[in-house]
Amino acid sequence: MAKRIDVSGLNAYYGSFLAIEDISMTVEPRSVTAFIGPSGCGKSTFLRTLNRMHEVTPGGRVDGKVMLDDENLYGAGIDPVAVRREVGMVFQRPNPFPTMSVYDNVAAGLRLNGKYKKSQLDDIVEKSLKGANLWNEVKDRLNKPGSGLSGGQQQRLCIARAIAVEPNVLLMDEPCSALDPISTLAIEDLIGELKEQFTIVIVTHNMQQAARVSDRTAFFNLAAVGQPGKLIEIDDTERIFSNPSVQATEDYISGRFG
């Protein structure tokens, strides 16, 4: 299932503004890669280029290559809708469909992609909710609105919704920043389990979190406000947090700026 992502020479723009410049990196399958860096350094923008969500923003455009195994996501004839099915995404604020039940939320992606029998759907919904460590909490209220859950539960519901369509890659954009510490812990544990099956990329503002959950960490920075964000370095998490090769990374991690 999990696929490798290979980015080379990627630039992303908002209108004429260059938001991130010349990024190249490899994201290993079945691992967690964390993106850290100060606000505005373009890490979320970069994340959104990985499933072609960036171009949804008005004026957003991308050049460069993003290889998913052997297919360039920005190649000619690639259907962005199909890309997003392969590369799932979890957002900063939990966003279950407010008018749908818990069950329908999880089944939403499946229903788009074809016809399933009721029993098939039931199985996948249950498996996904179990996968998101949510099943025990919601199995008695599958038909209640998803917006009635707590914030942490909603976020796990969103994760269940994303993994229900069996993507190859799971992108997470600061998935815990709107949650309390206990829910955060639950999500972090979940990420540890999910990496057995998926390639996971997570953007986080919380360096302890990056240290806790990720195998590799990428540090992004920008020279000044109005300048494009750049990838400073990417390495094993342990190394980034103990002995980074670039001074700026060390400054950031030890709290000297940002």
Partner: protein, 351 residues
């Protein structure tokens, strides 16, 4: 995951996608075909061939897309074409409305037309003008504004600055109800009060009263919105300086929101300027200049249009169009100026 059957079914990232120009090509094709069909079948109405073309466009793009791109994409395309068709369906008649009014209106619209009345002109003859109608409209609308603006603004101040409790709730509710009163019902009310009970004759002022009923709720609503935009800190800052509440309202709250209030009032005026039904019931109309809104029938622009239309001759229709053009121009100018003021005076709110 072990669900091998499911993953096997999944298509690759590379879907068959139709080129960007595809919708345009289908659109052009359907227009040509629609026109061709109606020409061949001897259909004589624009509406018909436009409808044929629209149906061809929607069905055509669905069929091609379903064949090449699959049913999900085809549905997406159908939605897109339906939305475009909806847009064109609505825009065409609306554009025609504006176009016809301008084209037919300019025919007799000149300085003479604006400065003369219909005094000695028979309905079927060319000549005459709308001076008496413009005069009447200005007076009636002006009087209506004189009544509605103070009542409306004060009511809004009451609701926003003082209103708690049951009275405020009742007022809010009835303002809502008033917003929905059909103009003919407002006219009937004043008719039964003014003409039938007080035994007064038709006059511009009676029309103004009915117009006020239509205008007050609009003024209340828009002023309310504007007053609510004034941040509470501003009020508190003034009150904390020991300024009494009523002076705070007059010197701080109103000046801050005055731009928006003026905009609202102008939009309300624009709305009642075009009202015909109450004027028809209460002002009656005349071909002569009557500058006194308190006695005897007056004319107004919308009623002039109605009466000239009803007269039924070519010359009177020309006059009706010219008056319609004048009326639209007046209302549009009011609208544009009002929007200009709104943009210029807009309180800076972070979005």
């Amino acid at each position: 995951m072990s669900n091998a059957t499911l993953s096997a079914k999944r298509s690759s990232l590379r879907g068959a996608t139709l080129p960007k120009w595809f919708p345009w090509a289908v659109a052009a094709g359907s227009l040509a075909l629609g026109y061709g069909i109606s020409a061949a079948a001897g259909l004589d109405s624009d509406i018909q061939w436009a409808l044929i073309a629209a149906v061809l466009f929607v069905v055509g793009s669905y069929a091609v897309s379903a064949k090449i791109e699959g049913s999900r994409q085809a549905k997406d395309r159908t939605a897109t074409s339906l939305v475009w068709v909806a847009f064109l369906l609505a825009v065409t008649p609306l554009a025609s409305l504006l176009w016809e009014t301008v084209e037919r209106g300019v025919k007799v619209l000149d300085v003479f037309f604006l400065t003369h009345s219909m005094g000695v002109v028979a309905d079927a003859e060319p000549g005459g003008g709308i001076y008496h109608a413009m005069l009447g409209t200005l007076e009636q609308v002006g009087l209506a504004a004189l009544i509605s603006v103070p009542v409306g603004v004060l009511t809004a101040i009451y609701l926003v600055e003082y209103g708690r409790g049951r009275l405020a709730k009742a007022v809010t509710f009835f303002v809502d109800v008033m917003t929905g009163i059909p103009s003919i019902v407002a006219g009937l009310f004043i008719l039964s009060l003014w003409v039938l009970i007080l035994k007064m004759g038709p006059s511009g002022f009676a029309g103004s009263l009915a117009l006020s009923i239509l205008m007050i709720p609009v003024v209340v609503r828009s002023t309310e919105e504007m007053l609510k935009l004034v941040p509470n800190e501003l009020r508190e800052a003034s009150l904390a300086l020991g300024v009494p509440k009523w002076r705070t309202i007059l010197k701080v709250v109103l000046p801050t929101s005055i731009g928006g209030i003026i905009t609202g009032v102008m939009l309300a005026i624009a709305r009642i300027t075009g009202e015909t039904a109450p004027v028809l019931l209460l002002v009656w109309g005349t071909d002569f200049i009557n500058a006194n809104p308190f006695q005897d029938p007056q004319e107004s622009l919308p009623m002039y249009i109605y009466l000239q239309f009803g007269a039924g001759s070519d010359a009177s229709h020309d006059r009706a169009w010219a008056a319609a053009l004048t009326l639209i121009a007046f209302i549009m100018i009011l609208n544009l100026v009002a929007r200009g003021i709104a943009r210029w005076k807009a309180p800076k709110t972070g979005r």
